[in-house]
């Protein structure tokens, strides 16, 4: 690797970022590092990570809005995902999980020597996607789709339905469609409170359901279809899930 290590600092607390700057300055005497940017939240971190070449992201785990684990998952969709080093003050659960998956993390207050050690091996150490999925405790705030090397964030509350295609899942919002590489079953596990399965291949946002209608008009005996807010398209309800029509149509 040529040139200094380009590092992005992500923490919602200003003093914590300032402390990290000091530490990086100390470390730079031994290991050439350069601060490529600072972000106070996950979205900002993703924006910065896409616009500049970042080698390592120092990522706080507990942040409002989008936590560090989720940010790391979205970062992986980048063409050249940066290495991630998590930082946490205290979180018994996260620490156990990090150890289990051999994911590198720093405990606050961070020591300069420990930071240097983590940085020097970070480049070879990219957290496996499965490990991050395991670490995710609460449902993510956003889904992310890789589009032409960029990561596009889709807030979960904007999603109207998720439909499994051959290899992908189509994420439909009022504005457009996205393709993501995830399994519908896993999405159902994660967002079971927000979405309901109306068909073998389709999860529908509970909050977006406006009603149900029969295929072929009011009097028809055809199968039920879901009417969603802001959408012309109708989603068929599978025969097995017909009972949902009664449960949800209130």
């Amino acid at each position: 690797m040529s040139g200094p290590l380009r590092v992005l600092i992500v923490d919602d607390e200003a003093p914590a970022r300032s402390r990290m700057r000091d530490l990086l300055a100390d470390v730079s005497a031994v290991l050439p590092v350069e601060i490529a940017g600072e972000a106070a939240n996950g979205r900002e971190a993703l924006r910065l990570a896409q616009s500049g070449e970042i080698d390592v992201v120092l990522l706080d785990v507990r942040m409002p809005g989008m936590d560090g684990i989720e940010v790391a998952q979205h970062l992986q969709k980048l063409e050249l995902p940066p290495a991630v080093i998590f930082a946490t003050a205290y979180d018994a659960y996260a620490i156990r999980a990090f150890d289990l998956h051999a994911v590198d993390y720093l405990l606050k207050p961070i020591r300069a020597a420990r930071l240097q050690e983590a940085l020097s091996r970070a480049v070879h150490n990219i957290a496996p996607a499965a490990a991050l999925r395991d670490l995710q405790q609460a449902p993510r705030a956003c889904l992310s789709a890789a589009e032409r090397g960029k990561v596009h964030l889709i807030p979960v509350e904007e999603v109207l339905y998720l439909r499994a295609e051959l290899k992908y899942v189509t994420v439909r919002t009022a504005a457009r469609e996205h393709l993501i590489e995830e399994s519908l079953t896993r999405l159902e596990e994660e967002f079971g409170e927000i979405f309901v399965r109306v068909h073998r291949n389709c999860l529908v946002a509970r909050a977006a359901i406006r009603g149900f209608e029969r295929e072929g008009g009011e009097s028809g005996e055809g199968p039920w279809r879901v009417v969603l807010a802001d959408l012309e398209e109708r989603i068929p309800v599978s025969r097995r899930q017909q009972h949902l029509v009664r449960e949800l149509a209130r």
């Binding site: 003093p15 402390r19 000091d22 003050a89 205290y90 207050p109």
Partner: protein
């Protein structure tokens, strides 16, 4: 001299005759005895209520008069040694019985049993109650020393400690003076946590502690944490269980402020109204599905300690509003004794 942790300060003490919970217990026990006595007196169960009413004619005036006299002489009794206080209480009870017995003969025209028998019953009931309160005091005493331990355990999330130290470290180079102040706050907070927290403390001190805590949190969270104090009508000498407010603020910050990107306000309102001290705490709240058990633990802990100190006279209630969370503590307004 170092005091051992298991030091048991209980050498026998009278119950607080002004505490509602104690009064309630006395009322229940005495009436229970009167009912039992009535049951033993009658030939047939049908006569039981009538006999109880007859007994009540002497029992109830005696009971109410006793409670009034005991509450009135509470201050004097408290200054006596335990054996002397016991003697005084029994003497008061027997004296009142003689007076009422005589009065009932002349004024109520109720056929009463012989005075010696009444004296015996009153002496036995009084003795039984005193033994009961003594045992209860002993049972609660380890609980009180345990309250200290609980206070320590439930207090201060490690999360807060390490984040605060991290924040102080960030100040050391740029603004050493602010780092000094922050470390002083941190020391103050831990001194309070490690103190013997069995005794009640003036609310002004608890508020001071809370301010130190909030200063530390403000250091980390900056503008995200807004604090509103309403303490204009707070009597600074009111006594409260130590660490009854700080853990609630910690909850408010952890659940109300930290999870939000937008600034939020924690408001604390403390005032006295009609011999009751009210502490009302409000913080923003977003129903987010995943509830933390830490919150309930702190609340249960404080509730338990309030009960240890004030029995049923104190209560802690919580209210979840549209986007706010409110905790309200109402407890007796106990004034600190002037030294």
């Amino acid at each position: 001299m170092a005091r051992s942790i298991n030091h048991n300060a209980n050498t026998g003490a009278l119950p607080d005759f002004r505490n509602f919970g104690i009064l309630l217990r006395i009322l229940l026990v005495v009436n229970g005895v009167a009912m039992l006595a009535a049951l033993l007196q009658v030939r047939s169960v049908v006569q039981w209520p009538a006999q109880f009413t007859e007994n009540a004619a002497l029992v109830e005036p005696l009971l109410i008069l006793s409670l009034l006299v005991l509450a009135a002489t509470e201050g004097v009794l408290r200054r006596l040694s335990y054996p002397a206080a016991i003697f005084a209480v029994v003497a008061i009870e027997l004296g009142l019985t003689v007076v009422l017995h005589a009065a009932s003969r002349t004024w109520f025209f109720v056929e009463m049993h012989s005075l010696p028998r009444w004296l015996l019953i009153v002496a036995l009931t009084t003795g039984m109650l005193l033994v009961y309160f003594d045992l209860r005091g002993r049972a609660l005493s380890p609980a009180l020393s345990e309250a200290r331990l609980q206070a320590l355990q439930a207090r201060i999330r490690p999360h807060f400690l390490f984040n605060s130290i991290n924040a102080v470290l960030s100040l050391v180079r740029q603004s050493p003076r602010r780092a000094e102040a922050a470390l002083e706050d941190l020391a103050g907070l831990f001194r309070a946590l490690m103190a013997d927290n069995r005794e009640l403390t003036p609310i002004a001190r608890e508020v001071e502690l809370c301010r130190q805590y909030l200063d530390l949190e403000q250091l980390r969270l900056g503008d995200r944490l807004q604090v509103e104090w309403h303490t204009e009508n707070m009597p600074p000498d009111a006594l409260v269980p130590p660490l009854s407010l700080q853990p609630l603020l910690e909850n408010a910050v952890y659940h109300g402020i930290e999870p939000s990107e937008k600034p939020g306000t924690v408001s604390i309102n403390i005032y006295a109204a009609r011999d009751r001290l009210h502490v009302v705490l409000r913080n923003p709240y977003r129903a987010s599905g995943n509830h933390h058990s830490g919150n309930k633990m702190a609340l249960a802990n404080i509730r338990e300690r309030l009960q240890l100190h004030f029995d049923v006279a104190a209560e802690l209630t919580t209210k979840v509003g549209e986007d706010t969370y409110e905790v309200r503590i109402v407890m007796p307004y106990v004034k600190a004794r002037q030294p």
